[in-house]
Symmetry: C2
Subunit: 341 residues, 2 copies
């Protein structure tokens, strides 16, 4: 293995469509990135058989991990019971310096817990955050934390803003990200105790803080990075998913009810597909776990090949831009109270 290569470990058994879609996406990326080394973790026999469907690729390797953590398993228990799982093996490759990043579309809780435990926190970071790219009217915005830290202090949210700023610049290519605080009103004095105190910290920071943002503003494109605690962020994420799912299932059902609706649906097919694609944050390459001392990207459980390829893109970019060191450096620019850990 050439040590100057970027090496990405991918959970070959993670997600509802594993291993087939995971392997398919990995094979596609191996062609796009001939200079990168891609490592699939999972039962060697299963993955070899799947890989045999494609032309051999020199830059794909299999690392045997005979156990698989199922999507619905309780994370803590699963990690203890399955030390040879594809998730743990992949995380260990990074921890031991044999890979630069790990990607999984499998059990989110288990992936996050394993990464936190094995990587540890990045120097200066008090709490980790999951960032997610959400499509909106003008393009997309980064929302964090989407579920890593349920109970947050204002200082945690300040750090999330810093991490989001780095990610937005390096990975999404926004030169000067507009950072906003998710809140229930535009005025500084609006919100709960957490948001009011966070507002003050963000206002005094070096970041491009544009103030509070509400649900409508996020979708209108008023900010590039939206910061909130992990409880609120996870709720937002799942409300959007639930509402979108509802809308599309309604449209699907009702465009087959009559001949008129069927023809209408057929004529509007590209518009409706495009709408669905716009609402599909899968397009944006998974959710990075930020604040840990290693690269870990969590993909959606229903990830298809394209989502995996997108996640590999993001992982490669993250490694090449040396994002971890930039985040660690960013932490030093904020004066965080020593009791706010």
């Amino acid at each position: 293995m050439n040590r100057s290569q970027v090496r990405i470990a991918i959970d070959g058994m993670g997600g509802d469509l594993a291993p087939s879609e995971i392997v398919k996406g990995t094979v596609a990326s191996a062609k796009d990135y001939p200079e990168c080394h891609l490592i699939l973790t999972g039962p060697a026999a299963v993955l070899s058989q799947e890989l045999a469907n494609y032309a051999p690729a020199e830059n794909i390797e299999i690392v045997d991990a005979p156990q698989v953590i199922e999507m619905a398993e309780e994370p803590g228990r699963a990690l203890r019971a399955k030390p040879d799982s594809s998730i743990i093996k992949g995380i260990e490759l990074v921890k031991d310096g044999n890979a630069d990043a790990f990607i999984s579309a499998g059990n989110t809780g288990a992936t996050m817990a394993a990464a936190l435990l094995a990587y540890g926190r990045l120097k200066g970071v008090h709490r980790p955050a999951i960032a997610i790219v959400v499509p909106n009217k003008t393009g997309r915005f980064l929302l964090l934390d989407a579920g890593a830290t349920a109970d947050c202090k204002p200082e945690n949210l300040l750090q999330f803003a810093e991490m989001g700023d780095v990610y937005c610049r390096r990975i999404l290519g926004v030169e000067k990200p507009r950072i906003a605080l998710l809140n229930i009103g535009g005025e500084e004095e609006k919100g709960n105790t957490l948001s009011k105190e966070t507002h003050k910290l963000l206002k005094d920071s070096h970041l491009g803080f544009v103030g509070n943002i509400e649900g409508r503003g996020m979708f209108q494109g008023e900010a590039d990075v939206v910061v909130c605690d992990g409880f609120t962020g996870n709720i937002v994420l799942k409300v959007v998913e639930g509402f979108a799912e509802n809308t599309f299932s309604y449209l699907k059902e009702n465009t087959s009810k009559s001949l008129r609706a069927k023809i209408g649906g057929w004529l509007l097919k590209s518009v409706l597909l495009d709408l669905k694609k716009k609402a599909d944050y899968e397009e944006y390459g998974g959710m990075p776990l930020l604040g840990v001392n290693g690269v870990c990207i969590i993909s959606h459980g229903s990830s298809k090949a394209k989502a995996i390829s997108n996640a590999i893109n993001v992982a490669v970019k993250t490694v090449r831009t040396d994002m971890l060191n930039e985040i660690a450096a960013g932490m030093e620019t904020h004066k965080i109270r020593s009791d706010a850990t």
Copy 2:
């Protein structure tokens, strides 16, 4: 005025479409409820002129309120500066026993603050909550708190559940409401400190608690009442609004881009309008402010006549079912720690 009548005060100047749509809705309701007395508050000359467009109705009265609080005014300042506003006059009618309920589609913050101040809290209630009816796959669910109490204790959420239970039975007609706690996972131990402690209280209560619910579950129809703190609830409300607005503006724009899309949009018109109607919680008659010692219903700023009529329906039902006393009685069934106020 016949004291046995139900008397509803309506802010004639509240909302983007006031006074015309407000008066139109009031006139329609006056016909539907000949036995009720409807009182419009606002500048008498303006409202008289508006009413002159319709056949005279004996059960509509105007109470002069020369001042109008604008939608964007800061609530506290506006209430102090405009003691003769249509909102304050309407709330005072209820406070002084001259009306049984007040409805406004105007400045939400000002309406809520005025009602809290004038009505006071209902006996036993520690914090008020705004409830909102949200459409979902199987019909609708009640979400509370949607923004009255940003910082909540577990005991507040228990009380919200009790209030939601009463409202759901009395106004929405659900015999045994399924009560759920908005959370970021299904398991009891999931969530932030607030949701974990609230889960215990709800589990031990007499209510029909069905456990935690996530975004998807809400829209799939897994519960009739969903409880959360006012910060989270308000974010959910505005995220749904923002996302829906985005979806519809995308569809509108894209069904006029080509002839093919135009025809498709025309053929699907009823399907799309129905989708929009389903997503429009306006259909459900506004948001009651629960936990205060008086009836106050807040309608959406863009309320049309039909929304106002629906709000009047809800107000009449609320008064007739004697909901306030039932909520107060419900408070006594819970053992609330004396420090949890």
